[in-house]
């Protein structure tokens, strides 16, 4: 038997009202799967250095957004900065992506959470140490099995206290650890092209047991085709199928060689036709 005390009825009513308020708040459908915040790493502006801010995307499990090259479908998020006079924003620094999807359609992007940072340069007039007011207008598409476009107007969030600052700082640190790095000076990369393949040859020590290539430009490699990894005496070779959308020879194959989490390296390999 169900017995409801007056208090539990009251509680239920309040919950129902809150739920209704939530619904009538007119959230965009995308926002039920993604939360966005504009955050800063610092409480005060470091003199002479870019401000470190970023748009934080928190995604519901199973949902994703896209890398700068989205792969076969989707599109990368776009950020338009609203900055005070005297400030400019640099390009987004994209952390290393993951491969998404299965079968004949493969995308590149992020699940869980991702912070898209951009350096903000400039100086405030007057009180130079305070972080200036700024905003970001973000357009994105968030997908799981289905895709939902969304947009958000974000104001720089004000952290509640030291714990928030610490958490945000950690997020920036983790994000920087996922930035692709320049290739070690001792490595060498070359690329050859035949009719249907690109063959990337890396001189890289110590020996690695696997590697994958993420193309910076769309329509160069067939994203859904397996990449054939073969160790060599001095490193490894990666053979990839050319994209059917590639109609002209390319001079340089650009992208990331990913050896594991936090181990993505920028490569720009001049292509020699065989």
């Amino acid at each position: 038997m169900l017995v409801l005390s007056r208090r539990s009825i009251l509680r239920f009513t309040v919950c129902a009202m809150l739920a209704f308020a939530e619904l009538s708040h007119a959230q965009s459908p995308a926002e039920t799967h993604i939360k966005l915040e504009l955050i800063s790493e610092q409480a005060t502006a470091p003199p002479g250095q870019p401000l470190r801010v970023g748009v934080l995307f928190r995604l519901e499990p199973g949902w994703h957004i896209y890398w700068q090259n989205p792969g076969d479908s989707g599109e990368p998020p776009k950020v338009q900065w609203g900055l005070p006079p005297g400030f400019t924003a640099g390009p987004i620094r994209w952390p290393q992506p993951i491969r998404l999807g299965s079968g004949s359609v493969i995308d590149y992007g992020y699940e869980g959470q991702v912070l898209l940072m951009a350096p903000i340069e400039g100086t405030s007039r007057g009180n130079a140490t305070s972080i200036p007011r700024m905003s970001a207008d973000v357009k994105y598409i968030v997908c799981r099995e289905v895709c939902i476009p969304g947009k958000a107007h974000l104001m720089l969030a004000a952290p509640a206290g030291a714990a928030d600052w610490a958490a945000w700082h950690a997020l920036f640190e983790q994000t920087r650890a996922q930035f692709p790095k320049p290739m070690p000076a001792s490595w060498k990369v070359t690329a050859a092209a035949d009719k249907e393949h690109f063959i990337l040859t890396m001189q890289a020590r110590p020996q690695v047991s696997s590697a994958s290539f993420f193309p910076l430009e769309p329509s160069q490699i067939e994203n859904s085709s397996a990449q054939d990894f073969a160790p060599t005496r001095t490193g490894f070779r990666l053979t990839m199928e050319k994209s059917e959308q590639l109609t002209k020879p390319i001079a340089i194959l650009r992208g990331l060689i990913v050896l594991g989490p936090g181990r993505a390296f920028e490569v720009a390999a001049p292509v020699v036709s065989q």
Partner: protein, 203 residues
């Protein structure tokens, strides 16, 4: 017997396409197919020899597809080109239970409601036609010339977004390719990167 032959031909083509890895390549013969539309009629590509054929992959739940239907752009293209003798086949390759899957009667109701005007909508829930052409997104577009050669493969236009405001002012690759081809010129952008949602194939 004829039906069986047609079916095995489709399977045969699919197998060839898969093993070679080149499903449908611009400049080469477009793979022949047999498919059934939302009125139960059977369409065979080779029967349209002598005509231009547009294949438009669709999923009406996909925001990229919606951009072209809610703006009326797709209907306009369908009317314009079918009015000029082009065969326009919309293809629904979403698997049962996935976004964009439609029964014949649902599709016919939608066509009416959206005031769409393709020659026919091919129902491809098994994804056979989709995989044969390696359609990746909705709306992915293929155009086949009167001699059965694939003359265009890729995006509908040059604005890969879900924003309806991007329809006006976009360079429409479908009209561009058909305009050029029908006036005897080479297609200037025969291959582009298709954009949109992934085609919701069976797992």
């Amino acid at each position: 017997m004829k039906k069986w032959l047609a079916a095995s031909a489709v399977v045969g083509f699919a197998l060839i396409a898969f093993s070679v890895g080149w499903a449908a390549r611009v400049g080469e013969a477009a793979p022949d197919f047999t498919a059934t539309d939302s009125n139960g009629e059977v369409h065979k590509l080779s029967e349209y020899q002598g005509k231009y054929v547009v294949l438009e992959w669709t999923n009406r739940g996909c925001p990229y597809t919606q951009k072209h239907y809610s703006s009326g752009n797709m209907q306009r293209l369908q009317r314009e080109w079918t009015g000029r003798g082009v065969i326009w086949l919309t293809v629904a390759s979403s698997a049962p239970g996935k976004q964009g899957y439609v029964t014949a009667s649902e599709e016919n109701a939608y066509l009416k409601q959206a005031n769409a005007a393709p020659t026919a909508v091919l129902l491809d829930p098994a994804g056979t036609l989709g995989h044969l052409y390696d359609a990746k997104t909705t709306p992915d577009i293929f155009i086949i010339g009167p001699k059965g050669v694939l003359i265009y493969s890729g995006a509908i236009d040059d604005r890969p977004s879900t924003d309806v405001a991007d329809v006006n002012g976009a360079k429409n690759y479908v009209s561009l390719a058909l305009d050029e081809a029908t006036s005897g010129k080479p297609v200037s952008n025969p291959t582009t990167r298709p954009y949109g949602c992934s085609v919701k194939y069976a797992d």
